[in-house]
Symmetry: C2
Subunit: 307 residues, 2 copies
Amino acid sequence: MATATAHRISRDEVVWAFGPDLVPVLEVEPGDVVTFETNDCFTGQIRSENDLVTEIDLGRINSATGPVAVRGAEPGDSLVAEIVDVRPIEWGVATLIPGFGQLIERVQAPLTRVFEVRDGWIRQTEKIRFPARPMVGVVGVATDGETLSNGLAGRHGGNLDNHLHGKGARIYFPVRQPGGMFAVGDMHASMGDGEICFTGVEIAGEVDVRFDVLKGKQATWPVTELAERWVAHATALEFDEALKLCAEEAARLLVDEHGFSMEDAFIFLSVACDAGIAQACKPAPGFGTIARFSIPNIEACPAPFSR
Amino acid sequence: MATATAHRISRDEVVWAFGPDLVPVLEVEPGDVVTFETNDCFTGQIRSENDLVTEIDLGRINSATGPVAVRGAEPGDSLVAEIVDVRPIEWGVATLIPGFGQLIERVQAPLTRVFEVRDGWIRQTEKIRFPARPMVGVVGVATDGETLSNGLAGRHGGNLDNHLHGKGARIYFPVRQPGGMFAVGDMHASMGDGEICFTGVEIAGEVDVRFDVLKGKQATWPVTELAERWVAHATALEFDEALKLCAEEAARLLVDEHGFSMEDAFIFLSVACDAGIAQACKPAPGFGTIARFSIPNIEACPAPFSR
């Protein structure tokens, strides 16, 4: 592995969609660390509780800083992005958006809430304070053909909105184009599983990412390795379909990489692994849902891929 | 609170359904601890990998030991059941059931797997070993009218199949009949969120429960208090509907018990709380799904109910 090298990409170097033809703003070696300055999902258009989501330019949503090409990453490989650190600034916002979310019929919307973020805590109101858990919502690589706006999730990643994508997560992306073409944005100081009002604590900041390449192996969707478990994802318009696809993806990795029979993979997923939700805001017109399966790092399958 | 008193109920004292007219086998005071001997969900009919789920008496499934009446528990109150300990025996079983589960079309079924459970670990095969997390699947109280077999979940509890219902969980049940009429069974040495093959590691054992009564307050479904969070539940045939109902239930508790505005409850659930799955095995003909919302025990809402 090459010696880690510091690189920095400005939050003015962004893409608004993941497609097949991304042009890199930086090329790095495996082992290099890059600091990405990221915009909040509204690109700074919402700065006070008087700024409403219905009044902003929706063409400037969910920017992702990059893309970065990693030398040696070729189609068929996995690009490994280790999130070394996530540093939000000291304020963020959440919004209630007309037509979005499980409780939207019970509230006044649009509405903006501004949060203070300091010393690992977030203040929603004078009374409501909760711990921060900084993570990135949009994180992905170039696609093999289609172009998907950053609000969407897919096999390339994109708006995965998984609260587990914080410090220490190692995300394996299926490389579809030479160099992979990695970009990241949409930081949240905190986001709950489900993200039922369609926003977390949306915030600008900096993300440090260390890159690596796993040759000749990839999953269908991004797969994430954590300290005590690894996590398969799948996306679909409806949550039931996403969960079924995610069970199939997790089982395929257990069978192909770790030698489980399909029967023992099915049983193991049922008795020892946790199905979950990354995002399932409903309604969310035009957007899909993201299912997750968490597999414990036991001796029989200590990582997504065998080594 | 009365001094804790030891009681024991045999695994021969069971109910197969929760209805309005349960007759108690024991009456206890608030503060009392009861040890429930529980059958595995198949009532011992599956003891080896030659015993198949298609060949057993399906009238003897999911027994719940009890019921226990708690003095002073009246309709409108919550019956609080604290799971003090869950002690599985040293072997359990899982099954693949024709027609059940996200991966059923990819496997041979029926199939039975026998697990060894010892020293906090579970052995599925020589290679696959994982940590135990003992919990109870069926846990509930009498209903206000309908009679639901123990395989079903509802506002009374029943087959909630929530892996968080292990040692230390305090479950608040809405009391619909005098005494509450609590029963418990369907222990799992481990069960994953989703329980996608429709079984966990099904096992017999003993459960110690301490009872209490919260006067004049109840939720719509059982609500569970843990060390670092509390958990609302909701059940429905489809997962999307269960999740929406669960968001409404969690928001109602935040608004009614903790003084949140509905807008701040919606935002807080989106940015700081985790939507999740207790059970979502699909297909599972005739059975519903169970959604969960986990709320952190912050100062603004340290428990399900204000005190």
